[in-house]
Amino acid sequence: MNRLDEPSVLLGGETAANALAAERRNRVPQFVRTHTDYYTRQFEHIGNRSGFTPTFNMMAGLLGSIWFGARGLWNWAVMFLIIEVVGFVQIARGLFGDLAAGARERVASIENTLELRRQQLASAIESGSDKIAVYERTVKSLEDNIGGIRLEAQAMEEQGVWIALSGLVVLFLVKLVQALVANTALERRFSDWLSDPTVRHGMPTRDSVLAAIFVVVILVTAMLHYSFPGSIALLSEFPTLPSIRLTAISVVEGFFSFAVLHGEVLFDAITRGIRLLLDTLELVFVQTPWIVIASFIILLTWLSAGVSTAIFSGAFLAYMGLLGFWDKAMTTLALLGTAACLSIIIGIPLGMFAARRPRFYSAIQPIMDFMQTMPAFVFMIPVIAFFGTGKPAAVVTTMIFGGTPVVRLTVLGLRGVPEHVREAAVSFGASKWYLLTRVDLPLAAPSIRAGINQTIMLSLAMVVVASLIGAKGLGEDVLEALQYANVGQGILAGFAILFCAMILDRIVQGARK
């Protein structure tokens, strides 16, 4: 018989097909360990249908997440556990919980006030005060209020049944789903296991015990906490130890004050080095007549990115000049240039060193992640401690944040150099130096240039933050605008920063072509 919906087994492949089916069947017991006949039949049944096939696994339904955990289907177990907890908590809350507790508290507090007012009213009547009417009105309105809240509390208490019922429905539904999908999920795991024997199989005791403990602990604590809120203090609040925190703070502080005290020579040297470069660049950018700088920048963009980009950069420069941002933009460029230059000077050799030393690279990688993800405001504190406020500190902050891409992309680029090209060079007797300068670096150049670009852009993103610790420039304007909610100035200065970035980007990126 030749059914159309079934691909006919190719001639001669019949035995192989049968062998595969038998192999699958024979290995089921090894996989499931318990109830082997049942699962063999179920898996066969699932395999015979296309699409999802509901089968009914009673044990999976009854035990729920414990079954899934014990079978090693942990992702299913966790998902089901969450829904089960919701169901159980609703039931417990509906049956045992004090639903009207909140309302009753409010009633009690109002009753106290009411009592007070009544006393006042009584004494007013005694003394014949003219405030009797006022007190009467107050008492009346409070009494009405209490009546309303009492009704509310009563309604809430009556809701308990329904809440418990809804929990029961949720629980029933999730059990049903568990029973229906259990065999399918296990069959899929079985197929995975056939190709990869390390996949969890059988019913390992460890998983079973773990699943049972896990489920029981979570269910019991959740039900306790929701049914009798506040009965166990440990459940509502994470136990803290204030002394640990204080000690930790003082240890960190001790470390930094030690470093500041003993690293003075080093930090002074770094500061002096940064200052030297910074002063030179500032001299170049700020002291040189604007017309020289502007024409130089336009020439540079024209050379690297073409005429149209040069015209744009001219327009950007005109914007900065006409709106009075020129000096500030140049200060920013000097600061940024210093940070970017230092990042590149350190970063590229570091990347070259790390590219062929995987262990070294994996050691510096977390440090670089740290540098890039740690909020700038956090590492600014120690930076200020070490370098004081001012431009060198701003340069260091910028380097910490923006210095990593050039290292990463240098490594990436060097690792991307095809091994056979390097091998060819070696086979012709190339020395290490030849290999590096004539093969590795030229082939990695696009990636390295992208890294430089990234570093410049990230450094520019730090302009405003850097101005917090005393770096003058465009960032200062933005910061000032922020402090006085000066929208106009802030946006104009922001655009000036953006234009700086675009000009730099075009100069670096244009050369990539």
């Binding site: 095809p418 056979h420 090209v421 091998e423 060819a424 060079a425 070696v426 086979s427 012709f428 007797g429 190339a430 020395s431 030849y434 004539r438 093969v439 030229p442 082939l443």
Partner: protein, 346 residues
Amino acid sequence: MIEVSGVWKLFGDASEAALAAIRSEGIGKSEVLERFNVVVGVADVNLDVQRGEIFCVMGLSGSGKSTLVRHFNRLLDPTAGSITIDGTDVTALSPTALRSFRNKTIGMVFQNFALLPHRSVIDNVAMPLEIRGVNKNARLRQAASILDVVELGAWGNKFAHELSGGMQQRVGLARALAADPDVLLMDEPFSALDPLIRRQLQDEFVRLSASLKKTTVFITHDLDEAVRVGDRIAIMRDGRVVQIGTAEDIVMNPADDYVADFVAGISRLKIMRAHAVMQTIDAWQASGGSLTADAPRQPADEPLSTLITLAIDNDSPIVIEEDGRDVGVVTRSDILRTIIEGAEVS
């Protein structure tokens, strides 16, 4: 010219211990992997390559042929054994001496061309000379003359990646020849090319090497190519050399079933020579055959295809002569039998 003796290459941390175990206990490849986590790349290879010959190393992927050849210029260091090229013990060279040896003595051609994409064709060809420190004008002149030899004279200023695959490999060959090395190592040079270009380059290479007379080690996984190009062929399997010989040796007397399977599909017409097809004069006369004076005569190393052409036109048997003597006779039935034997195997 190239003498390889007892070369082993094992990959893995415990390669020394694994080699000791192989030598003392004779354990196999899979057991070595299991016990020492060491992969056997090359196992006890001995071979001699004569000066000026094209020596093919043939085997399927993973048989260790590329690994073996990479020892010749020490891109890989052998775990054990010695390699001598033109009297130089390659394994004993210091780093500096090794670089100069690679540069002057050996030229290598790679399967995936391995040209520098950011350089022009002529700069690629001049690379070995640049490494040697030859000045720019001299090395460009040399490169241009070599480019002319591989018929790419007009392409020198193009970038390598602008050329087609076949042309790129000619550049690769030119680069290997640029430093005028004594030895050429060719690592599956034509495998990445389409069949038509491959045939063309094989023929070109055979012509070229006939005039250049470089000692060549030619790696291939294609027996047809090995037969077409090689003077002698070494067949490798699982890191071992299982047979070394001329194409005819290997086709006629395969060392084992593996080689027999390998050569089964090869066309015998170009490989088989008269002396392998013929019956001796004595046997012919004993079976009552006679020789006519006008019978066609052919030397003993004439390929089978020539004999077939002759046999179509002549009814009389073909007399085979060697050193001026008549040594044997080939009849039509001999030819047909030879062909059918080849066909049965395949």
